[in-house]
């Protein structure tokens, strides 16, 4: 369970990323986060993985306060929280399987990291993850030879290999065409249903968010303006989330 209590985030330049966020996320939920670009969606997602630090409030995950974690404890926590990025963030010139196995690096002995040696078990677990996103036949292809949608699947496989209990995705389909976007969203949905992992996805396409999520969080200017089931979403609420009016 993830619990936000009065969480705020102010950037060093004074910009308010998040303001007084209060919400709870249960295990196994599929949540779409919507809002205009710059509203704070990315900041919200990234604070859960501590790629961004919060400046106020408390952020508890499974009963542990994570905003004060440091060093080894922080890295241990991050093992449980997988992160997917809009730009895939893969190493282009190495093989697909090496990219997938890179999420095992934190648990390997240092000398094997240095030499880039992986055991057979590690390779098999990476192949299993690739199979789950239908990319098994590309395992030994160089990553930069894949299309955008294929690369996003590889990055999904990388996160699955790390076997997280929470999956965070920051605009995973923003750079993809509509058909591929649906395919990748289907992967997320299947993983959520089959493996029971909590999924939080930032999407600026409202249609995709409404189609796949069970719960929607609408963010505007760093504040949560809607938090509830898809069925409760109305045009009026959407207008609030996406209104250009800066007055608050």
């Amino acid at each position: 369970m993830i619990k936000f209590e009065h969480v705020s985030k102010t950037y060093p330049n004074g910009v308010k990323g998040l303001q007084d966020i209060n919400l709870e996320i249960q295990d196994g939920e599929f949540i779409g986060i919507i809002g205009m670009s710059g509203a704070g969606k990315s900041t919200f997602i990234r604070t859960i993985n501590r790629l961004n630090n919060i400046t106020e409030g408390s952020l508890m995950v499974d009963g542990v306060e994570i905003s004060t974690l440091k060093g080894q404890a922080l890295r241990q926590y991050r093992r449980k929280v997988g992160m997917i990025f809009q730009s895939y963030n893969l190493v282009p010139r190495i093989s697909v399987i090496k990219n997938v196995m890179s999420s095992l690096v934190p648990d390997m002995p240092f000398w094997r990291v240095l030499l880039g040696l992986f055991s057979k078990e590690e390779k098999i677990s990476a192949l299993e993850a690739l199979d789950r996103v239908s990319m098994l036949d590309k395992a030994f292809v160089r990553t930069d030879q894949l299309s955008g949608g294929q690369q996003q699947r590889v990055s999904l496989a990388r996160t699955l290999t790390q076997n997280p209990s929470v999956l965070l995705a920051d605009e995973p389909v923003a750079a993809l065409d509509p058909v591929t976007a649906h395919e990748v969203m289907d992967d997320f949905k299947r993983i959520n249903e089959e493996l029971g992992q909590t999924v939080l996805i930032n999407i600026h396409h409202v249609d995709l968010a409404l189609e796949y999520s069970k719960r929607i969080i609408g963010i505007r200017a760093g504040k949560v303006v809607y938090d509830g089931p898809v069925s409760g979403m109305t045009q009026e609420i959407l207008d609030v989330i996406y209104s250009k009016d800066e007055a608050e």
Binding site: L51, N89, V105, P106
Partner: protein, 273 residues
């Protein structure tokens, strides 16, 4: 250059439809003027004289001609110092490239976020790079004594600073996305660097190191001039004794060695990219 534009007014053209286009007065006369002044000062300071050049140029060809035909039998005395020169270049380039890697990492501001460390390491690289190799070889002979070790040190310093600078500039252009993704999986910065940045910079790193090695072989040939070992020692000696056919043989040997090494290294570099 504001004063120049004030001195020479911009020209403006009025088109048939009343629009005006203005064009700044050309800078060409100023540049040409400075250029000619530069030439005049340089000619005066260096004592350059075309007359001397044309009347005495025969002397150049005379020396050049006396190198032919190269004394082939002299090769028996050439190959050992030539090999020594290549050995110096290889060791110096190798260790220079190895030491350059950590320095480049510390100098790159996207990997090492400490600004002070960045600047200190860059300053070290710049100072070392600024000292000409022959000068550092000369100083090395004073510190380490005459011989190939001093030459190896000089080549080491050059390779270190050259590869270090090229590499840190390249590291700063590398995509940090995969690095961030690894940090997000809970990997330490060192592990993330090895897994995601290293594979991206490796081809450029090896290629730059090979490039430095190519140049070093050529350069190492003259280090002997200051007593830093290798083929330059006998080159200096034979020129002094005016045994120009032997000089010709030395130059021919260097030429062949350089061609072989450059061709091999260029093939390897092509393979890398």
């Amino acid at each position: 250059m504001g004063w120049y534009d004030k001195l020479f007014e911009a020209e403006s053209y009025t088109l048939g439809n009343g629009k005006t286009v203005s064009q700044k007065f050309t800078r060409l006369p100023l540049i040409l003027f400075l250029f000619i002044i530069g030439i005049a000062i340089s000619v005066w300071v260096t004592g350059f004289s075309l007359v001397t050049l044309f009347t005495n140029f025969a002397g150049f060809w005379k020396i050049f001609g006396s190198m032919f035909p190269p004394k082939l039998s002299y090769f028996m005395q050439v190959w050992r110092p030539l090999l020594m020169t290549i050995q110096m270049s290889f060791l110096g380039s190798f260790f220079g490239a190895v030491v350059a890697l950590p320095f480049a990492i510390l100098a790159a501001n996207n990997v090492t976020s400490n600004r002070v460390v960045n600047l200190v390491v860059r300053f070290i690289l710049t100072v070392v790079r600024t000292i000409p190799t022959l000068v550092s070889a000369l100083i090395a002979t004073y510190i380490f004594g005459l011989g190939t070790f001093a030459g190896t040190v000089a080549i080491f310093l050059f390779s270190f600073s050259f590869v270090g600078k090229q590499l840190f500039e390249y590291i700063e252009t590398v995509d940090m996305g995969a690095y961030e993704a690894l940090i997000a999986t809970g990997a330490s910065p060192a592990r993330s660097f090895i897994t995601t940045i290293l594979p991206q910079i490796l081809p450029t790193y090896l290629s730059t190191s090979l490039f430095a090695f190519e140049g070093n072989v050529r350069y190492a040939a003259i280090l002997g001039y200051v007593g830093a070992g290798g083929i330059g020692m006998i080159l200096n000696e034979k020129i002094g004794w005016r045994e120009f056919q032997s000089v010709g043989m030395i130059l021919l040997s260097i030429f062949v060695a350089v061609v072989i090494i450059e061709t091999t290294s260029q093939k390897l570099r092509k393979h890398l990219s």
